[in-house]
Structures are given as structure tokens and as C-alpha cells.
Amino acid sequence: MTRKNLIILTFFALLAVLPLITNDSYIRHVSIVALLYAIVVSGWNISLGFGGVFNFAHLAFFAIAAYATGILTKTYGFPSWMGVPIGVTASVIASLIVCLPVLRLKGIYVILVTFGFGQLCLQVVLNQRSLTGGNFGFVQIPPLRVFGYSFRSDQALGYYYLALVVLILTILLVSWFRRSPFGWRVAALRENEDYAIARGIALARVRLATFAFSAIFPGAAGAIYAQYVRAASPDMFGFSFLTIALSMLLLGGVATVWGPVVGALVFAILTEIMTPLGPGRYLVTAVLIVSILRFFPKGLAGIPDGLATWHAKWRGQRLSKRPHTID
């Protein structure tokens, strides 16, 4: 067994036994939310990191899944175990709808359309008050219950393990994706779109597949989240949620399998440490994002390399005391 596999195994063993170590409801809540974030951000990494498509509707998929799960299980009486399938279906459908206009667009326009799509969904949610609860959110979603076992019992133990299992599946799928011919096509389109198309990669088909694949994860996480907190709120479409997920992705490092997972967990812990700062923690978050982009564009994963280059550069500058740039 390689050292890397050992680290991974220890990591998941620790997560698996965490509930045995502590049964504190606060720690349980924070860890469930962190695991769900890790799932969502890993999914975003597929379209944004590996695919290089700036899909700003990714968090809207999460919100759509939460609303779909809530509405279908509460209002239309679907059984609660259908939650995750419903969430994934809704999210994938939404991703295909948003992908259609994006097929023809590039760069900033992709961001604007995907962002506009999220706002459109938000407006529809606010308008359809009788269906979605409007401003107040959709509340009292039935919790997940399988064979009479409520996932809420034992301080939401069921939700913790469900989220952990989905996260492991997510990581397996992302590692498969990275090595699969599908993943290579996606990366080829990111690296050089014209050349990739010239070599016979079907842009439209691959991009639709990328969107649909990446939407599975926020779909599952949104459904679990809705059943866990038993509510879906219009805030889920908002700017701050997007910014937090983005900083997790950047913190961990884009286009790596483990970056988003580590980023989400580290960021969730950081946020908890910063809770006493109140709204001040958002200021720290913002500064963090810009600093990462500025000094460590590869995120946590790139810090060792980054420090080495920086050190070498600094030494080089000291050795040759002359201006080194033409700019």
C-alpha cells in the first residue's frame, strides 16, 4: 500500500469513527454541513476546474434540488427515501437547461448567463409563494426515514453517515472521471478548444455531459441538506453562498481530486473558528480569496511549490541587485 493510500484511508477512518468519539450535536451539525459542502464543491470542480467552464449556476442546482425534494416529498407525498433521486434528477435537468444557451457562448458571457439563470430561479421561487413559501422559505420538509429508522435519531447520526458515503462516492466518481476518456475530452476542450474540436471532440455533447455529470453532486447534497435541516430558503440562490463555495474551491485548489474536499473541510473549520467575529468573518473570507488568487493560485495543494518558487525568486533577487523586469 502506498503512502498516499494510507493517508486517504486514515482520513476516512477518522471521519467514520468521529461519531464514536463525540456525540456533541454542534460538532455533528458542523461536520454534516462540511461534508455536504465538500460534495457540492467537488461537483463544481468538474465543470469549473476540470472543464474550465465558469458555471455560476452550480449553487442554484443545489437550491433547486433542495426545493424539488421538499416540494415533492411534502406537498405531493413522495416517500422520503426518494429525496436523493428527486434531487439528482431535478439538478441534472436544470443543468441541461442552463447548458443549452451556454453552448454557444464563451468567457464572461458564460458567467453572465449562468448567473442570470440562478437569479431567474430565485425570482420564480419568490413568485410562486403558494408552492415554494416565497420569501419565508419552504419549511417542515419531512425528514428521511428508511424502514422505520429516522435519520434524525442519535443527533442526526444517519445524515452524517449518508453524507460521508455520498462524499466517498463523489471522490471515487471524480477520480474515475479524471482518468476516463470523457475526462480527457473535457480537459482537452479546456486547454485548447479549437484544437480539441478539430481533433473531433464534439463540443456540445461533451459540454452537456460535463454539466449533467457535475450536477449530480449538488443534486444529492441539496436533497440531503433539505431533509436534514428540513427547510429550503431563497438565500441558497444568493451571492454569499456562492462566494463561500468559491473560496472553498480556490482554497483547496481547482482541477485536483482532493483540493475541493480539503478546501471545504478546512474552510468549514475556519468559519467555525471565526464565528465570534460575526460579519467580520466574511471580510476575512473575502481577503482570503483574493490572497489565494494573488499568491497561491493553485490553492492549498500548490502552497509547497509556491513557497519554493517564491523563495528561489527572493534569493535570486538578493543575488542580482538590479531591476529584473521590463514590464
Partner: protein, 296 residues
């Protein structure tokens, strides 16, 4: 003949409210267009600058705070916004100028900037909503519909400011230099124009306009840290519709969106208007990604 009267009154109401909205959008969208034109980036912190402008004007002018009167409030607010624009340019844009995927990186940095500014506003001014005094009190009749004197001021000032902007870009050396940078960066640099200084000028003008728009908006709506969000999204629709970076296109786009929104609010109601606007926005982008007057 009653229906003719009805159509007439509907048209008048739509005209008056459409004019107010359009003028506000012109003020906001022009700044976005200038920055896109010169730097080739989309500034997501534009709405947050409006918020800071509105709060600063409130702090300077409101009797509960400094109470120096409205005019100093507006002047200081616009100046603060312009300086804020320079700071944003220096911290969030300049360090990334050499990166190949500048557009996408600056989306993230300006988004963080907006996050930072809005939460700073929340920390400094608190969650209690505030409102600015109106510039002109009393009402004015526009085509038979009464609107406040303040709104009438916006309707008059917006085109005047655009005219001023056009004159600045057209007739001054700095204005020509900014346009030169927008048209051909390398050649402008070869001609001895300091491009980075022109970026700063463009950013300061855009931020100043945003601050002014914030002050105007702060007297119509309540000032909250989220004040800039919705107008920014509308301005986004405007610049897309007009063609990113085209100032005439932006002005046409503002009036189209403003009147369209007013008409849609009249017939569909305020709730559906937003959804309708976004739908139209997405459809336009799909059919004509470069907008009405867009180039490239």
C-alpha cells in the same frame, strides 16, 4: 371611447416610471461599460460601490449623523466612491493584469470585493435601514403623471452626465487617451500613453458614477447593504443588451430595459417582471451574444 383613455393613462404611467428607471440604469450601466471597454473586465463590485456611496452621503448629510447638508453629502459620497474605485483597481485588478485568464480571475476578485464592502457596510452602519433626503422636494408632472421632484432630477441629470462623459472622452486629452487604450492597448502604449494610469481614470469615473447612482437610489429606496444587488443585475442586463463596452449601446439598452420593465410591471405585475426580464436576457444572449451595438 373609454378604452382610449385607459390606454392613454396606461401609456402615461409607463412613460413616467420607465423614464425614472431608465435614467437610473444609465447611471449604473455606463460605469460598467467604461470599465469593460478600457480594461476588458466585468466589475461585480459596482453595486457595492453604490451602497458605500449611499451610506457615505447619509453619514455626511443626515442630522442623526454629521448633518452637513445634502450637497456636501453628495460631493463627498462621489469623491469617496471614486477613491474606492481606485483602491479596487489597485488591489483587485492591477495585480492580475498579466494573467492570461484575467476576465475570469477578476470576476472572482471583484465578487470578493463586493462581499467585503457589503459586509463592511453592515459592520459600520448596522442592519437598521436608512433613507436619504430627496434632492428636490415636491412633485412634478410628467406627461400627466405625478412623480417626485427627486425623480425628475434623476431624469434630467442622467442624460446630462452622459453628455458630460461623452464630451470628456471626446474633447480632453485624458479622455482620448482612455479611448485609445480601449481601442488598441499595444498601440496606445507605443504612443507613450501610460495605460495603467488610464485604467485608473476609467475605474475612478465608473466608481464615481456608481456612487452618484447610489445616492440617487438611496433617496427613493431604503439604504441597506444589499441595495446595490438588484440594480447591478439590471445594469448587467442593460450592458449585455446594448453590447458589452458600447456606450451608445448601453444608453439605448438602459432605456429599453427601463421602459420594458415599467410596461411589464404595469401589465404583468411586479413579481413576474423580474422573471420575464431574465428570460428575455437569456434569450437575447443566445440569439445575439454581442448585443445590439456590440462588436467583435
Amino acid at each position: 371611447m373609454e378604452w382610449i383613455d385607459q390606454i392613454g393613462s396606461a401609456a402615461r404611467a409607463i412613460f413616467a416610471s420607465g423614464l425614472v428607471l431608465s435614467s437610473l440604469y444609465v447611471l449604473i450601466a455606463a460605469g460598467l461599460a467604461i470599465v469593460w471597454n478600457t480594461l476588458g473586465i466585468f466589475n461585480f463590485a459596482h453595486g457595492a460601490i453604490m451602497v458605500i456611496g449611499a451610506y457615505v452621503a447619509w453619514t455626511v448629510s443626515d442630522p442623526a449623523a454629521l448633518g452637513w447638508g445634502l450637497l456636501p453629502g453628495i460631493v463627498i459620497a462621489v469623491a469617496t466612491s471614486a477613491i474606492l474605485g481606485l483602491v479596487i483597481n489597485r488591489l483587485l485588478i492591477v495585480p492580475f493584469l498579466t494573467q492570461p485568464n484575467l476576465v475570469l480571475i477578476t470576476v472572482m476578485t471583484t465578487l470578493s470585493g463586493a462581499f467585503f464592502l457589503e459586509n463592511s457596510a453592515l459592520l459600520i452602519w448596522g442592519p437598521r435601514i436608512k433613507q436619504l433626503e430627496k434632492v428636490v422636494s415636491g412633485n412634478v408632472s410628467v406627461g400627466g403623471t405625478a412623480i417626485s421632484g427627486h425623480e425628475a432630477t434623476i431624469i434630467v441629470l442622467a442624460p446630462l452626465l452622459m453628455l458630460g462623459l461623452w464630451a470628456f472622452l471626446r474633447f480632453t486629452w485624458v479622455g482620448s487617451a482612455v479611448r485609445a487604450v480601449a481601442q488598441n492597448r499595444e498601440f496606445a502604449e507605443l504612443s507613450g500613453i501610460r495605460t495603467r494610469a488610464m485604467y485608473a481614470v476609467a475605474f475612478a469615473i465608473a466608481a464615481g458614477l456608481a456612487g452618484f447612482a447610489g445616492v440617487m437610489l438611496g433617496a427613493i429606496r431604503f439604504i441597506t447593504p444589499g441595495l446595490g444587488g438588484e440594480p447591478l443585475i439590471k445594469a448587467m442586463i442593460v450592458v449585455i443588451l446594448g453590447g458589452l463596452g458600447s456606450i451608445p449601446g448601453t444608453i439605448i439598452g438602459s432605456y429599453l430595459v427601463g421602459f420594458g420593465e415599467a410596461a411589464s410591471t404595469y401589465f404583468l405585475g411586479a413579481y413576474w417582471t423580474q422573471a420575464a426580464l431574465f428570460l428575455v436576457f437569456i434569450i437575447i444572449l443566445v440569439i445575439r451574444p454581442n448585443g445590439i451595438m456590440g462588436r467583435k
